[in-house]
Symmetry: C2
């Protein structure tokens, strides 16, 4: 490998200083995996155009010298990861091959549908409240207009205690996959792990009430994942994600193994 390069990462931060965007978390893990130094460009949502000289309104991304790569904001696309594997082929690969990338794509599309989609309505007000003060008005306005059909953040988040218990049972395929290997990538983590961990890091960034139970079998992998690269996922501004309290009649949060 050549000398350690340095790549700038457009952060998307909350008032507590931690990253919110799963795409930024992915980029941070991807750079660490490839042993590339990340130079963080701090800031929140509304400063993104200024930080990119108008190149990006909403999309986070990276700058490598004069070259910018912005994410699509859709799951399963991995524009930054693909760029890094193409531009730095002599450094540890994020995707071992096309089959493995196809797997990560499916995993990511599934995980967003199973978790971020239902969690979005459970944490939309928390998300607003934890934003940088200057970001809150536009976050409220754009989310209420574009995603909530005019309902308020308060109306949408209300009653989440009925909806939160439905998410952990839907994550069983992830637990199943982690029963046989330490990481989704196998013996060592790869982008399958980073993209999935980014979902739980997003949860930790916004959640003012936990989304997973204390005894969730995913916990071991999540804790190990947050510890990677010197505790990359251990920002003090993150919230606890374990501790969801279930009530009588809630579904079992996971399948107990015999």
């Amino acid at each position: 490998m050549t000398d350690t390069p340095k790549i700038a990462v457009l952060d998307l931060q909350l008032e507590a200083g931690c990253t919110i965007s799963p795409f930024v978390w992915q980029a941070k893990y991807a750079l660490a995996h490839k042993q590339i130094e990340a130079e963080i460009i701090p800031g929140g949502f509304t400063s993104l155009p200024a930080r990119t000289d108008g190149r990006s309104q909403h999309r986070p991304g990276i700058r490598d010298g004069d070259h910018w790569v912005f994410e699509s904001l859709r799951s399963g696309e991995f524009l930054v990861a693909d760029y890094l594997d193409a531009a730095y082929p002599d450094r540890p690969r994020l995707f071992a091959n096309a089959d493995q990338r196809n797997y990560v794509k499916f995993l990511d599309n599934w995980l967003w549908a199973a978790s971020i989609k239902p969690w979005f309505s459970c944490y939309i007000l928390d998300y607003h409240d934890r934003c940088l003060p200057e970001d809150r008005p536009s976050v409220r306005e754009s989310r209420e207009r574009d995603f909530l059909g005019g309902a308020t953040l308060e109306e949408v988040q209300a009653g989440r205690e009925d909806r939160l218990p439905l998410v952990p049972p839907a994550l069983e395929p992830l637990r199943e996959q982690l029963r046989e290997s330490a990481w989704l990538g196998g013996d060592t983590p790869n982008f399958a792990d980073y993209s999935a961990l980014s979902v739980f890091l997003w949860l930790a960034s916004v959640a003012r009430t936990p989304g997973l139970t204390d005894d969730d079998p995913l916990r071991d992998w999540i804790e190990r994942g947050f510890d990677l690269f010197g505790g990359l996922g251990r920002h003090p501004g993150l919230n606890p994600i374990f501790g969801l309290q279930l009530r009588d009649g809630d579904p079992a949060p996971f399948v107990v193994q015999g």
Copy 2:
């Protein structure tokens, strides 16, 4: 490749003559893919011990000469497919590599949770009624005892019109994956397709009312999959699986692409 070998398949058939077990469908597709002749050992559930000289009580499988391989009856295990790739490495592979097998394992575990699990309660009485007459008493007794906590098949299947519309929306990750390639395996089908198709072949074997809407985007891939290998999935005893009627208030069955 050497001369075409011949492998015996323990079928699990319904009264209409078609295969019910997803594992048997997987085996039939796997053998066709590897260009190995399948010699069908016909029969239903209760004849399995007699057909295997007592080697199997419930598990279907194959016999290759004197060697038997039985499935585990769990999703994502693929004991027959692994045997075939190991025993016949010079014939077309079912799994290209370990990464691709890992993908199929996740896909299969996910698909069973998203479809067979909810469909089980929607079709449990149909399943019983379509069994061979000699299989019905033990199917009823064992299913009511082991899976339904003593409830009757009739009680469990009741009200399925409220539950059937919830399954198609949950299949969106599969549609997403098929937007970019003709097959889950890429340009050509592989075991990712066969294991997923086996779920819809199971549906077709039991369903006396359709589980998917007429306009489901999965239809193109499913029809092409049933047509593979000279129409391997086109047994006249199978039921139509498209034609689910939705009612006001049911969720959208799939995401319409812009």
